[in-house]
């Protein structure tokens, strides 16, 4: 899927002025070829990176994502308050210079909680996305490359999971493995939520991968590789996967954003993350009974949530524009 036209035209426009050595009669285009050989042709990712660097949307969203990642890794950099220290005396005291975002019902600092909440929200989203991409991608490659009954069986299995309505499926799964009132540690709860998101969303990743494998499988270079006696493993890893990865990667970037939202939605319904975990979804869910008297309890975590989702969706858009040769 590399776009030879883009890199080729770029090279010609900048380099054909270069004078050829006097006396030698170069055939037209020879200079271009020589230059192209010297200047290593960029692969798909190199091309994409070249495009991305010029996109302000990419830089803005990356800056926000970096900020959120730092926030997730070292929350203490941003606040010295303890997110779990509650003082009922200051229950639902509004924003002030002491606590920028005010205090929640238990008298805990909302700003500190929003900062510490980034961790769980982002960890859940990133882990589920990595899992979905690996599982869906693997299944897609197997189904697309092996074909026949393998494909038929895997596709039907995927259809079964795809048929589950996302929210209802999530509620049922989480109620089974993470019933309200059960006493679990922070990471156990997070892993259960990750697993349920993974179960419900791998079929789409698989379909995306499968269709791009099917489209690439019969390409000349694959046939050529097979004719030269390359093993299946080599064909798949060296030729097939690098050329089929783009659509899945784009989808995965956007998926991180939607998983942040999905986690919050499930948490809001009372089956996702819950105390002792702090996440934006948990905070929004806790605030829902006080919206009419203290709307800021909803506003601040929701604002962080929206900015985070927006950053990942924007990054996904930028990456898609860069990876999709049709949009160039």
């Amino acid at each position: 899927m590399t776009d030879p036209m883009a890199s080729g035209s770029l090279v010609t426009s900048t380099q054909t002025e270069e004078p050829t050595a006097p006396g030698t009669i170069a055939p037209p285009g020879a200079g271009v070829l020589a230059v192209q050989r010297a200047d290593k042709p960029r692969g798909l990712l190199g091309d994409a990176w070249h495009d991305l660097r010029r996109n302000p949307l990419f830089w803005i969203s990356s800056a926000f994502i970096l900020l959120f990642l730092v926030m997730a890794a070292w929350p203490a950099l941003f606040t010295s308050a303890d997110p779990d220290y509650g003082l009922l005396q200051r229950s639902r005291v509004g924003p002030s210079s002491d606590a920028w975002f005010g205090y929640d019902v238990q008298g805990r600092d909302v700003f500190a909680r929003v900062i510490y909440g980034a961790q769980a929200s982002i960890v859940v989203a990133v882990l589920s996305t990595v899992g979905t991409t690996l599982l869906g991608g693997l299944m897609g490659v197997i189904a697309g490359y092996r074909g026949r009954w393998f494909d038929a069986v895997l596709s039907r299995v995927a259809d079964v999971f795809f048929g589950l309505p996302f929210l209802l499926g999530g509620i049922v799964i989480l109620f089974t493995f993470n019933p309200p009132g059960s006493n679990r540690g922070k990471w156990a709860i997070i892993m259960i939520v990750v697993a349920s998101l993974l179960i419900l969303s791998w079929p789409l990743s698989m379909r995306i991968m499968r269709s791009s494998v099917l489209a690439t499988k019969e390409a000349d270079y694959i046939v050529a590789a097979r004719a030269m006696g390359a093993s299946s493993t080599r064909i798949v890893f060296k030729h097939l996967i690098p050329n089929c990865l783009a659509p899945l990667l784009v989808y995965s970037t956007i998926l991180i954003g939607s998983f942040i939202g999905a986690e919050a939605t499930l948490t809001f319904l009372g089956v996702g993350l819950r105390s002792p975990v702090v996440s934006w979804g948990v905070m929004i869910s806790e605030s829902q009974n006080y919206i009419r008297v203290s709307p800021y309890l909803l506003l601040f975590p929701a604002a962080f949530l929206v900015v985070a989702v927006l950053s990942f969706v924007m990054l996904g858009e930028a990456v898609r524009e860069a990876l999709d040769p049709k949009l160039r």
Binding site: R156, P165, V172, I173, T176, L269, Q288, I291
Partner: protein
């Protein structure tokens, strides 16, 4: 065509059994006693537990329960709730509300999304185009429950323009706000889909021919351009109907609509497997049939696509 439909319908069968059994199994595995709290503060008498266990086959293996359930289902009987209500009744009361909500949402997203998409697709890179692009991104990023709460607070409480919650059964006007909330994300997708598709076809040869023939712009856009650009949008709308019904649970909760989302939620908590599965059965059927209809519609809209 007929063979294609047959093949698709046959493919639905294993998927249908797989999905429903999966749900049945999961609900069955939900920990907890289904009769806890059914008899007030004391434990239920043994005779009651024995009677209920017998009646609902609770002591049989999961597979037997599932097959019994399917047998009744084929005769049009969804079974009973533990409270003794017929599930057909429960669904009969809740389902129309959800369908109403989904239709309102679909209409709103189609009208607003298409208008925005067509306007921006025709004039790219203008002020309106950027405005729509930014606001659609924003809508996609907002989870439904945040949109719901904020709009309910603003329109229902702060400005008191509409009732914050709806009556039962809800009227169509009351459903406009919930419908907007439910359809907001899809609206953004439709606007973007329509925009891309219009902008792509705008440069097509047949549009240039139509303009060269001297047709008025209204006719070029309304007849030639729109018809060909609508195919992806129609596809999206079709598959979205199923998704809207399944996703209505949040919106129903916020606005107090008595729909299937709430029924399912109640049923999952009380471990009423039959109710959950019945609702999921209907959702899955709607979803799969809509997919089929969309694929067939595709062939009708685009003469280049043939199924045989």
């Amino acid at each position: 065509m007929g063979r294609y439909v047959m093949r698709r319908l046959l493919q639905l069968i294993p998927v249908f059994f797989g999905t429903t059994f999966l749900i049945y199994y999961l609900v069955w595995a939900v920990p907890g006693d289904p009769f806890a709290g059914k008899c007030g503060d004391r434990r239920c008498p043994d005779s009651y537990i024995r009677f209920m266990t017998e009646k609902f086959n609770l002591d049989k293996p999961i597979f037997v329960q599932y097959v019994t359930y399917l047998k009744n289902l084929l005769q049009g009987d969804f079974g009973q709730t533990y409270g003794g209500r017929s599930i057909n009744d429960v669904i009969g009361q809740a389902y129309p509300n959800t369908i109403k909500l989904a239709i309102v949402a679909l209409a709103i997203e189609a009208i607003i999304g298409l208008t925005a998409g067509v306007l921006t697709g025709l004039r790219r890179n203008g002020f309106l185009d950027n405005l729509v692009l930014v606001s659609t991104l924003f809508l996609i990023a907002l989870p439904t429950f945040v949109t719901g709460f904020v709009l309910q607070y603003l329109f229902g409480v702060q400005w008191a323009i509409v009732r914050p919650t709806v009556s039962n059964p809800p009227t169509f006007t009351q459903l406009i706000l919930p419908g907007f909330v439910l359809g907001s994300v899809s609206m953004a997708y439709i606007a973007r889909l329509a925009r891309t598709s219009i902008a792509e076809n705008r440069r097509a040869d047949y549009v240039r021919t139509a303009i060269a023939k001297g047709l008025p712009m209204r006719r070029v856009v309304g007849v030639h351009l729109l018809r060909n650009s609508l195919i992806p949008v129609v596809t999206y709308l079709g598959t979205d109907l199923g998704a809207l019904m399944g996703g209505a649970i949040v919106t129903e909760g916020i606005f107090g609509i008595n729909g299937i989302g709430r029924e399912t939620y109640r049923a999952i908590i009380t471990k009423e497997g039959a109710t959950v599965v019945s609702i999921v059965v209907i959702l899955v059927l709607v979803y799969m049939l809509m997919n089929l209809v969309v694929d067939l519609l595709y062939a009708a809209l685009d003469p280049r696509i043939r199924y045989d």
